[in-house]
Symmetry: C2
Subunit: 219 residues, 2 copies
Amino acid sequence: MLSLTEENYLKAIYHLSNDGTKGVTTNMLADQLSMRAASVTDMIKKLATKDVISYEKYKGVNITPAGKKIALYIIRKHRLWEVFLVDKLKFQWDEVHDIAEQLEHIKSELLIKRLDEFLDYPSVDPHGDPIPDEHGELAVAKKLQIAECLPGQLMQVIAVDNSDAQFLKHLDRIGIYLGAKVKVLETVEFDGSVEIEIDRRPSVYISKQTAENILVTEK
Amino acid sequence: MLSLTEENYLKAIYHLSNDGTKGVTTNMLADQLSMRAASVTDMIKKLATKDVISYEKYKGVNITPAGKKIALYIIRKHRLWEVFLVDKLKFQWDEVHDIAEQLEHIKSELLIKRLDEFLDYPSVDPHGDPIPDEHGELAVAKKLQIAECLPGQLMQVIAVDNSDAQFLKHLDRIGIYLGAKVKVLETVEFDGSVEIEIDRRPSVYISKQTAENILVTEK
DNA sequence: AAATTAATTTAGATTTAACTAAAAATATTT
DNA sequence: AAATATTTTTAGTTAAATCTAAATTAATTT
Ligand SMILES: [Mn+2]
Ligand SMILES: [Mn+2]
Ligand SMILES: [Mn+2]
Ligand SMILES: [Mn+2]
């Protein structure tokens, strides 16, 4: 049984490892968790003894199959709670992440089973991220950043790659939501910003950073 | 802001103090929390510096108005979550207490406001305990133990004084639920057990301990 | 291949929340 | 009023999770 702190480290490792496909360095973790490298070294040693990651001094860590399973279950809980907050409690999509950070650590398998049922087995969270199933399986849809699209392409927003309230509120202001239809008009060489048309309304410019965090699929 | 541990101590103090009306000793707390007296002494010193209790060496503690307000807010959260679990997620009344012990520490005022709304402003939890309102006001109904009733009295079950799963499952087996009509037939001098009739079915005996934990009102 | 820089680990310290054992204060019994 | 028992506190330890500063290892530049 992992502590809340250990769960947060493991989840961070999972995310940074790109679904367990890449190694994760001490500094990457320190950065992600706003913690000092020395603290991270201590914790990864502990997690390695629990066999949820493998660790070689100075070589970084890799998540193990057991660790990945636990990480995906935490992510499942996080995303189910986000759906609950938005669908049932009428929260906005920019308000739910921090609360879900707390709720994801509640321990009760039955609770999550019942919550899933109550929410009618959702497959994605309010930001378009897929919800792992009970067996830890993740449906991966291929997503493109708006920043990568070519002028003329007509796309549909299927997810966002960032759950910061500031970013999501910005999307609200410019009229982006999951399901919105976006036509890419032009990419500005100078600063990487992109001119887009959302749901056939007058076009707007979005910054490179914004365009990299909006994920779309061909429509 | 109190830590999870401090919140649990404060809640225990509130409960043991009978709504803040009585002092609470070190040993009472150690007992309630399954902790050593020395640990309790440390923690009550800390809580006293935070002005949620007053403490005099060797004299035990008293909860302050500020402490009572915080305790009632934790209890409010606990009971609202229990209603959620039973009403929305179809849990049994004996399954919810331990999960609510975790959920009560989630920090978000908005979450509790929205949950209350979602549950349509319930006034009691699944065990008949009143839910403090947003201002920390508690509606106190006067409740009688079955053990205190006189033979011949017709009563209605309005609450239970114990949320242990074993006790609640026992009530399920003998047919006691909130709202059940109970006729007290006889009190056995020898062991304090009580013969009762539930919803006009054939009479049963319940132990003194059981009779002390079922709360009723005249019907 | 040195020298320098960057990343990582080690050593030692701190805080929180627990513990045991011993001391001190209070309460009860004789 | 002593003696005894009980309760509570103090003193010193431990484990978890952090930190800073110093040492070590690895990577990069000259
Ligand atoms: Mn989130
Ligand atoms: Mn978390
Ligand atoms: Mn409860
Ligand atoms: Mn609790």
